[in-house]
Amino acid sequence: MRITFTANGKPVEADDVWEGESLLYVLRERVGLPGSKNACEQGECGSCTVYLDGTPVCSCLVAAGQVQDREVRTVEGLAEENGELGLVQQAFVDAGAVQCGFCTPGLLVQTDALLEKDDQPSDNDIREALSGNLCRCTGYEKIMDAVRLASARKCAGKGHGE
């Protein structure tokens, strides 16, 4: 089948898509957006998290046909328009929250979504929001630091931080 959708603001189409393919497979193998990662492919690890019409989802659990005419935003779409790192991306780099980095794209999307909803989450809020994203390298401490840093910068940017 042919599917057409929007990925990071640009229209894309994929031909000869087999009905059983996931959105993750289409993004990674057909439309050249391999940033979303394939760690468990059954919705347990969160590495493949993308926005679908503004809601974070595990793209491995979305059938390709379900995204027809919809909007997908992946980790590749989190950077600023001028190519600079987005706020959450920069915070992860600065806090040392990236080690092997395989979980990072999913964590970035989920963190971005969390801070969209609540720009000053408590530690328990952060842990709850990110509990669907496994990381095997960092012990999560530096991920907590990164989210706190992103939150502080976001609030400062809005003028109700420092």
């Binding site: 990236v98 092997c100 328990n124």
Partner: protein, 786 residues
């Protein structure tokens, strides 16, 4: 134009300031930006026009004879390009890290659940999956040999490998064994010297590395008949060494380039899909990509050895250890992998960081029809630490002593001897680490008045509102060796090139080191900056065009490859200064490279590096070998076996819901001696990550194997800690330099995984009063409903 300065001009103040991006600083990862943009190419992201997808058929039985394999139906499926069995292998059919006992594809029999039997290459992963299902295999299913008793009685239960196979390395179903005796050993006379004796039997379940990036890579056939493989691995050269004979190619025609690695933790030390992808590429003449699904990853790599241990410790009434007697049985599964070295570690480190006058040890690894086990972070020291640290707590309770004081009373220090007879010739601050971890502030008690449900055991499941929750605190300390041991000539190679690019001096570092997430690439750049006094450093992609870097394991890469980068950079620096001496006739003895300039303490800036270098590049390669070690004597375990030792102490605070058997680790504190922190940010990250894997082993992680069959090969059923399961991990580091190591550093990555598990179990025991002798601790162990 030369920028030689007037003699006596002392303008070194600015350029002498150590670069914040040199060693001891925490510059950011060079690959970090790519990784957060989603642009970093991991092995599963490899892509080639016209590529095929490879997939393996795996055995559903742990032990069976293969009567026939029929590939005809699979071959007929449109889109299928090749179906291969062992008969299609052009070269040697066996490979292995230490013993070449593993067939690349099963021959006549299968020895574990998930053993690969045949391979398919197809134009779509789904086509490959369907083709795999069409391969017909006729089995004669045999009763698997899975328990210690069965393994040790091969006359009754059979052999995993025929007795004549691999005889030089073991016998029967014993893959490897190591004994150790020191002092008077453990006899009735020695036992009589102790006022108190405690014994315990302990069990460790099978843990998985569970790296997130699945085994994957792309094999591309080359015009010269060779093959290029883009691969996630821990050691490019040892992969090639094992692959080339199977592929029937000389090593130089098997070229490996490291693709992005999504974690490793020991699980990528062995070959997984490397040979399979190359065989399929050879047969089809097309690029072949293999990407394991998570279940295949659980089948496709070796795990941490499950262990059964028996410990007996004797002490005087005032707490001085008199003797320790220990037996450690590791289940190595169907193939040897790294089992011999794991046994050596368990035996030589199995008594912990304590001075014990009389010691006896017997460690063995079995061949069985369980999944193969090999390297995982902590490598034999993890299992033993659970045993000896549990014993320390038991002994302290028996003596009515504080468990930390008992440990400190017996703690080894610099100048003491290991049970192997090896003198500890660098700092061993075991008692100090314990003191520091004990002195760190405790977390506040659970606030029942203002309870956030997410802070209690069971977290989001709304299981409790604080009732039935008891807090406990536990301590532990562990010992781990760094680097490869027992006489192995471990080395690493680095190439450093210095040249002028865009008017700036730029250093390039080229090694074959596998960056698996640990941050070696950051540290290499820091070393080059420090030694060469430049800011710009580029890291060349790791590949087999440069000499071996050895494995990214055994906490050895900063020591070994970092050491090689230091040697190569020093050689480049010497060459540059020599060039300057020839050109300008410098006679000073204090010439150094700082801030892009050649300087002398006495005379200030002598020349800018760019002017001295001109168009010339200095490009030098050096090898770093650590000091030689010796094999352990097979019967007595004596020998200078290890390069370096590293120590970590932990304190765990847990809340236990005693009614539901749920545990929440509230805080896990670590204090570790790292010799010299080359990059403190990375060091802390490694320690926190290591502690979290230890937490997983303590309370949740286990591959369930029943009658040889794996029951939980998924992230749904094999649980690793989430951010909700993982507490704050305060870390303190000590920097007591090892005089034998580059910059005085100590390997970092494994020690916390060795030491942290027992502290958590100790804390649960303290909270519940239940004697726990098996990990992971499960709710049923705590509720008595087992």
């Amino acid at each position: 134009m030369s920028t030689r300065t007037i003699a006596g001009q002392k303008n070194l103040q600015n350029i002498n300031q150590a670069s914040a991006d040199g060693i001891g600083g925490s510059p950011l990862r060079p690959d970090g930006t790519l990784k957060v943009k989603g642009e970093f190419a991991y092995s599963s992201d490899m892509w080639h026009e016209d590529m095929l997808w490879g997939m393996a058929l795996r055995s559903p039985h742990p032990r069976a004879n293969i009567l026939s394999v029929d590939i005809s139906e699979a071959l007929k499926l449109p889109g299928v390009y090749a179906v291969l069995t062992h008969q299609d292998i052009p070269g040697s059919k066996f490979y292995g890290l230490e013993i070449k006992d593993q067939p690349a594809l099963a021959i006549d029999k299968v020895r574990y659940h998930g053993e690969p039997i045949a391979l398919v290459a197809a134009d779509h992963p789904e086509t490959a999956r369907r083709a795999v299902k069409k391969i017909k295999v006729e089995y004669e299913v045999l009763t698997p040999i899975v328990t210690e008793e069965q393994c040790l009685d091969p006359e009754t239960h059979g052999y995993v490998h025929e007795p004549h196979e691999f005889k030089s390395h073991g016998y029967g179903n014993i893959c490897h064994e190591q004994k150790l005796v020191s002092g008077l050993g453990v006899t009735d006379e020695v036992r009589a010297l102790a006022d108190v004796i405690v014994t315990g039997e302990y069990e460790v379940g099978m843990q998985d590395q569970a790296f997130l990036g699945p085994e994957s890579g792309l094999a591309v056939p080359a015009e010269d008949g060779g093959i290029d493989l883009y691969i996630a691995t821990q050691w490019l050269h040892v992969d090639r060494e094992q692959m080339a004979p199977v592929l029937g190619l000389p090593e130089e025609k098997v070229r490996l380039t490291l693709a992005g690695v999504g974690g490793a933790f020991g699980g990528r030390e062995d070959i997984s899909m490397q040979i399979h992808a190359c065989l399929l590429a050879q047969h089809t003449g097309k690029p072949v990509k293999i990407v394991y699904a998570r279940d295949e990853s659980f089948f496709g790599h070796v795990h941490r050895h499950p262990a059964k241990m028996r410990y007996e410790h004797g002490a005087t009434r005032d707490g001085k250890l008199v003797f320790a007697d220990c037996r450690i049985v590791l289940d190595g599964g169907a193939y040897a992998s790294a089992s011999p070295a794991v046994v050596g570690n368990a035996a030589s480190l199995g008594h912990g960081p304590y001075v014990i006058p009389n010691v006896k040890m017997h460690a063995i690894a079995l061949y069985s029809n369980n999944p193969s086990c090999g390297a995982m972070r902590g490598f034999g020291a993890v299992q033993a630490a659970f045993g000896y640290e549990s014993q320390m707590d038991k002994l302290a309770a028996e003596l009515g002593m504080d468990p930390v004081e008992l440990r400190q009373l017996n703690a080894m220090a610099e100048g003491d001897h290991m049970p192997t007879g090896q003198r500890i010739d660098s700092p061993a601050p075991v008692a100090e680490l314990l003191q520091r971890v004990k002195d760190m502030p405790l977390p506040p008690p659970l606030d029942l008045e203002n309870l956030d449900i997410r802070a209690v055991p069971g977290a989001l499941s709304n299981t409790s509102h604080g009732e039935g929750i008891v807090r406990g605190v536990g301590y532990s300390v562990g010992i781990k060796n760094v680097g490869f041991s027992e006489g192995f000539d471990d080395y690493s190679t680095a190439r450093v090139r210095l040249e002028v690019i865009g008017g700036e001096p730029v250093a390039m570092v080229h090694t074959a080191m596998a960056e698996v997430g640990q941050g070696g690439v950051t540290v290499h750049a820091q070393i080059a900056r420090t030694e060469l006094g430049v800011e710009q450093v580029t890291i060349h992609p790791a590949n087999t065009e440069v000499g071996s870097a050895g494995s990214t394991s055994a906490s050895r890469q900063t020591y070994m490859t970092g050491g090689a980068v230091k040697l190569a950079a020093e050689a480049v620096k010497l060459a540059l200064i020599t060039k300057g001496r020839r050109r300008y006739g410098w006679t000073q003895n204090d010439i150094d490279l700082v801030g892009g300039k050649v300087v002398s303490e006495a005379d200030g800036v002598l020349v800018a590096m760019v002017d001295l270098l001109g168009d010339e590049a200095i490009d030098l390669t050096r090898e770093h070998h650590h000091r030689p070690t010796q094999p352990f004597d097979k019967e007595t375990g004596q020998g200078f076996g290890h390069v370096q030792y590293t120590f970590c102490a932990n304190r765990a605070v847990v809340d236990v819901d005693v009614e539901l058997g749920l545990v929440k680790v509230v805080e896990l504190t670590a204090v570790q001696d790292v010799g010299k922190a080359l990059n403190p940010l990375s060091v802390v990250g490694q320690i926190q990550g290591g502690c979290t894997q230890a937490l997983g082993l303590a309370v949740m992680e286990e591959i369930i194997v029943k009658d040889g069959k794996v029951r939980n090969a998924s992230f749904t059923d094999y649980l690793i800690p989430t951010i909700l399961d993982t507490p704050p991990i305060p870390v303190e580091i000590l920097e007591l330099p090892d005089p034998n190591a580059p910059y005085g550093l100590r390997g970092v990555g494994e020690a916390p995984t060795v030491s942290a598990t027992p502290s958590i179990v100790a804390a649960i025991r303290q909270a519940t009063g239940i004697a726990l002798n098996r990990i992971p601790v499960r709710p049923e162990h705590l509720t008595g409903t087992l």
